[in-house]
């Protein structure tokens, strides 16, 4: 955008009356109203539009290229190629026209399946937070406990989440608690580790304040430890919900019944490839929304 703007009215005036001595006006000339985009507000609007455009341009180009690539891949496959963007879009419109139907245990609307998955993530993650946060605090506060926990955590953390599924099935004898168990065990590590790291990193300055004031353990916890650890804890929660959402899709594929993961597998058995593509988008979008919601929460607890 150019910063130089001509006010044409004034330019006209100057050209017609180049001398500074103006003929005595018969009537006081009414000033022409300035065009909107030359007023202060108008320029602000233009500026804002320009900034928004510049910000939106790269993602829009990126998405457009992605869709183009998708189209190329799908057409190059011929008759048995991947469904193209248009076909998938049409199918999605049909699918989301009635998201909450219920025709028996293995045939539910897409909305129900998403909600079932979210519900499992919520319960599994909630249990992980309930156990992991206090555990993290204790591990961070007491060196001895940290020493005890370190080998166990290092051993169990890298285990692939689905490896826990048979254990869950064996213990609980049912698929529902087994999939909750898988969410729980795979999302608990980031919570424990981040909380513990936060506790270990409470600035010495703050602890000195606590010592000089001789605060009680309870006051130290509520006024210093907890608020100081909170940002770390939220990072842990963020990671752990991300993991939980990754894992649920895989777990539901194996356990079946309901959920977005089950739905993907079901549609594969029906050979409905468009629906599988839609499911991938749904999983991605829900994951993105969860992430953004937690980023918003985290912003609330940034003190600096």
């Amino acid at each position: 955008m150019s910063a130089v703007t001509f006010n044409e009215g004034r330019l006209d005036d100057l050209m017609n009356h180049p001398t500074t001595i103006k003929p005595a006006a018969k009537t006081p000339a009414r000033p022409r109203p300035t065009p909107f985009f030359q007023t202060e507000r108008g320029r602000a609007v233009l500026e804002w539009l320009g900034a928004a455009f510049r910000k939106a341009l790269p993602p829009v180009i990126g998405i457009a290229l992605f869709v183009l690539l998708w189209q190329i891949i799908s057409t190059s496959g011929g008759e048995h190629g991947l469904p193209g963007p248009v076909k998938t879009w049409e199918s999605a419109k049909l699918l989301f026209a009635d998201p909450f139907y219920d025709r028996g245990p293995n045939d539910k609307g897409i909305g129900w399946n998403i909600l079932h998955s979210l519900y499992r993530v919520g319960i599994g993650f909630g249990l992980a937070a309930l156990v992991g946060i206090p555990l993290g605090f204790m591990i961070g506060r007491f060196k001895f406990l940290a020493g005890m926990a370190a080998p166990i955590i290092s051993l169990l953390r890298p285990v692939s989440p689905l490896a826990w599924l048979p254990i869950g099935l064996y213990i609980f004898k049912q698929t529902e608690p087994a999939s909750l168990w898988v969410i729980f065990i795979s999302s608990i590590w980031p919570i424990i580790l981040n909380t513990a790291a936060g506790v270990a990193r409470v600035p010495q300055d703050y602890l000195n304040v606590a010592r000089v004031l001789n605060l009680s353990e309870w006051k130290i916890f509520t006024r210093i430890l907890f608020p100081s650890v909170l940002p770390y804890m939220i990072t842990g929660i963020q990671l752990s919900i991300g993991v939980a959402w990754l894992v649920i899709v895989a777990a539901e594929m194996l356990t079946g019944g309901t959920g977005i993961g089950f739905w993907v597998w079901d549609e594969w058995n029906n050979l409905n490839v468009e629906h599988i593509l839609i499911a991938i988008f749904i999983v991605g979008i829900v994951g993105l929304l969860l992430e953004q919601a937690l980023v918003l929460i985290a912003k609330q607890f940034n003190y600096e």
Partner: protein, 263 residues
């Protein structure tokens, strides 16, 4: 009372990775009630260590520290500490930070209303009544340091301990806070021990200046009495011959007798 705060033969040895390190040895100091003492010395001479011994954050390896005839054992709210890095809790407002200290000291005996009055009075003393409900991140460095002073004074401590409280501030802010501190100390008659490396600050504020030798095994080399009349005015002192004489004595100690080689 001549021996309100008493430090006798204090010694501080740290166990470091490279072996034992004697930071302080044979430190003796007697502070009268209401007296303002500045501890001055080159960086690394152990002046902060000495202050931490009085605060109780560190335990002396040897020697005795008495406050009002009681041995100092561990930190306690009878010694108000102002830290170099203000150390305000960022999630509490200025009011909340001061209230935390007030509640700790008077909470058992006084009503919530009385605690509130105390907190507000402390913030008014440092002229921060208007910023009471702001968070530390929302106020300037000088204001944060004033909240730190309010927090320390609100506890009505027996001694006010200050560890280079104005070290991180710019020169103009520092000057105005020094003036404010002089007024506050005159009003509250607080016994004060202040660590500084600023010669002008030491002469302007204190009744006596304890000058420390260089470490390791540092000690108080000389104590200079600053017999300038109060209230003191920094502009008038600039023309005062005796002020310059005292200033010269401190500089002489620091830069002739105990010069520190550049690292």
């Amino acid at each position: 009372m001549d021996k309100y705060l008493q430090i006798e033969n204090a010694e501080m040895v740290f166990n470091t990775k490279k072996g034992r390190f004697t930071a302080l040895t044979g430190v003796n100091l007697k502070v009268k009630q209401g007296e303002f003492i500045a501890l001055i010395g080159h960086s690394g001479c152990g002046k902060s260590t000495l202050l931490n011994l009085v605060s109780g954050l560190l335990d002396a390896t040897n020697g005795v520290l008495l406050l009002n005839d009681r041995e100092i054992k561990g930190p306690g709210p009878d010694r108000g500490m102002v830290f170099q890095q203000h150390s305000l809790l960022p999630w509490l407002t200025c009011y909340g930070n001061v209230y935390l200290a007030v509640e700790r000291v008077f909470g058992a005996r006084e009503s919530k209303k009385e605690l509130k009055v105390r907190t507000e009075a402390a913030l008014e003393l440092v002229h921060l009544a208007h910023a009471m409900h702001m968070l530390p991140a929302e106020i300037s460095g000088g204001m944060k340091q004033r909240v730190g002073i309010a927090r320390a004074l609100a506890m009505e401590p027996k001694v006010l301990l200050m560890d280079e409280p104005f070290g991180a501030l710019d020169a103009l802010t520092r000057a105005s806070l020094q003036d404010e501190l002089m007024r506050i100390v005159a009003e509250t008659r607080a016994t004060t021990l202040m660590v500084t490396h600023d010669v002008d600050e030491a002469v302007l504020l204190s009744d006596r200046i304890a000058m420390m030798t260089n470490g390791p095994a540092a000690t108080i080399g000389e104590v200079l009495t600053v017999d300038l009349e109060r209230p003191r005015d920094r502009l008038a002192l600039a023309e005062n011959a005796h002020y310059h004489h005292l200033r010269g004595r401190v500089l002489e100690f620091l830069y002739q007798k105990h010069i520190k080689k550049a690292a």
